[in-house]
Subunit: 279 residues, 2 copies
């Protein structure tokens, strides 16, 4: 692994530091940018929350719009925000906003032309934490959260990697990608049309075989335009019930799919993760 | 005055509503968009904070990046965010980012070609509050705040209009525009090169003749790249001292000119205004 990384910016925020870093990713075969919030007095006692953003986002949307730094500073939590896909002229792309760059779906692709670069699962679970541990003196304790496509990513990263995270949460996650238009389109491209290969990247399917029980919190807006067709939290609720997985699903009246929704409840999620990471 | 206004969007945020409205402004001679945050249970008891943004901004920057809604909801404060200039193809503009559209400087222009549209002072102080009172059942009590060019705007709106506001605050305001490059460029264009006409739009000059003493809070980052040349809070501090105006100026170590700085201290400003508006 190339452990070189260059600091792009460093801005004071709630007496901590909001930074952007750029590095060459060997997993993805391209240059990547990530953001990190370091709370005041960050050190080996500081656990790390990984935040995975949704379709069309990069490492900056959450940093600028979620208002998370205030509570992260108070709780002593670092937050790492990767980009949502590999990037660059040499990386395959698609004209649509829900496939290719900005839409990596946090999986390891197996089908052409995507399979050489689109390995966001390995990047988020392995390469990026290793890079973070090289450049920052922080705790090895991790949790994971995300929004929409990134909520799917958080669930799948946690369910596929027992022992890796202390807790998992999501805002309006794509709960059952095998069975919704966004997921079917992405999985068909990245994994090929053989659906057996999709099972390992679907939170509802993974939950049935989960060997670990993590604290799991999901918030879902009831006025979210994507709720019924794309997100399907009831499918995850059913899978969790069947598997005996302790899922807290909160349906939030009047809230949509935007960062105004995330901002309204991010403090609850940070407190939820901080509690799990303390134990 | 045309009191028609159309709702563009309405999103739940901290159990209140974040809305955008569009209307024809008779003061500015163009269509304008503004944002308003309505806290939960907004009504005739709910005072209104006017937020004036900085160069290049529109009505959305503060709404998306300052994280103000959480505390506004808790305090029961509405926040109105106008755009930073008149807009549209028929409105004079300049290729530079610090003059013309996006850079109205919250004054009433008197020089060609600006004087017919660039009347942001009258828009912010008179037309917009009248429109707000027509469309929303809120208190008539108002305060004003802003950032950079909008900090200048907040100071000048308050100092020129005794009895209009209950309190005024600013983040990194342009304190003495007559004596800094941004201000000299804008005033020369909008007001003409005769400097006598500039005195009525400069906070340091206005403070010397202020007939009212409002609670006044300013936060300024010490790592702000514009501090020495453009912002000059020490000039305002000197003017306030000479006039016996009670100014609280807080120099914040390590903070720059960005919304990360604003987000870090916005709660203090909202609490400051809420207290003044309660009395």
């Amino acid at each position: 692994m190339n452990t070189q990384a260059n600091l792009l910016s460093d801005q004071r925020c709630f007496d901590g530091n909001q930074q952007r870093w750029r590095h060459a990713s060997s997993t993805l075969g391209c240059e990547m940018t990530f953001s990190i919030y370091l709370p005041p007095d960050a050190g080996p006692h500081t656990p790390v929350l990984y935040w995975l953003s949704g379709l069309t986002c990069n490492d900056e949307n959450f940093v600028q719009k979620a208002g998370a730094q205030r509570m992260a500073a108070r709780l002593g939590l670092a937050i790492v925000c990767p980009d949502t896909s590999p990037r660059g002229d040499q990386v395959p792309d698609d004209g649509a906003w829900d496939l290719g760059q900005g839409a990596g779906f946090y999986l390891n692709a197996s089908a052409a032309p995507w399979q050489s670069h689109y390995r966001m699962h390995d990047y988020v679970v392995h390469e990026l934490p290793a890079l973070v541990s090289t450049h920052f003196s922080l705790s090895a304790k991790k949790s994971v959260s995300g929004h929409s496509m990134g909520g799917h990513g958080a669930l799948v990263c946690a369910l596929r990697n027992p022992g890796h995270y202390h807790s998992v949460s999501a805002f309006a996650p794509i709960c059952h990608p095998m069975d919704c238009p966004w997921g079917i389109k992405a999985f068909s491209a990245y994994l090929g049309t053989e659906k057996d290969g999709w099972l390992a990247w679907d939170a509802c399917e993974l939950m049935a075989q989960a060997s670990e029980r993590l604290p799991l919190l999901i918030d879902q807006g009831e006025a979210d335009a994507f709720l019924a067709q794309q997100l399907q939290p009831t499918a995850l609720l059913a899978a969790a019930g069947k598997a005996g997985y302790p899922l807290t699903l909160r349906m939030q009246s009047g809230y949509d799919h935007s960062y105004f929704f995330i901002a309204s409840f991010i403090d609850d999620h940070l407190a939820f993760h901080a509690q799990a990471l303390q134990t």
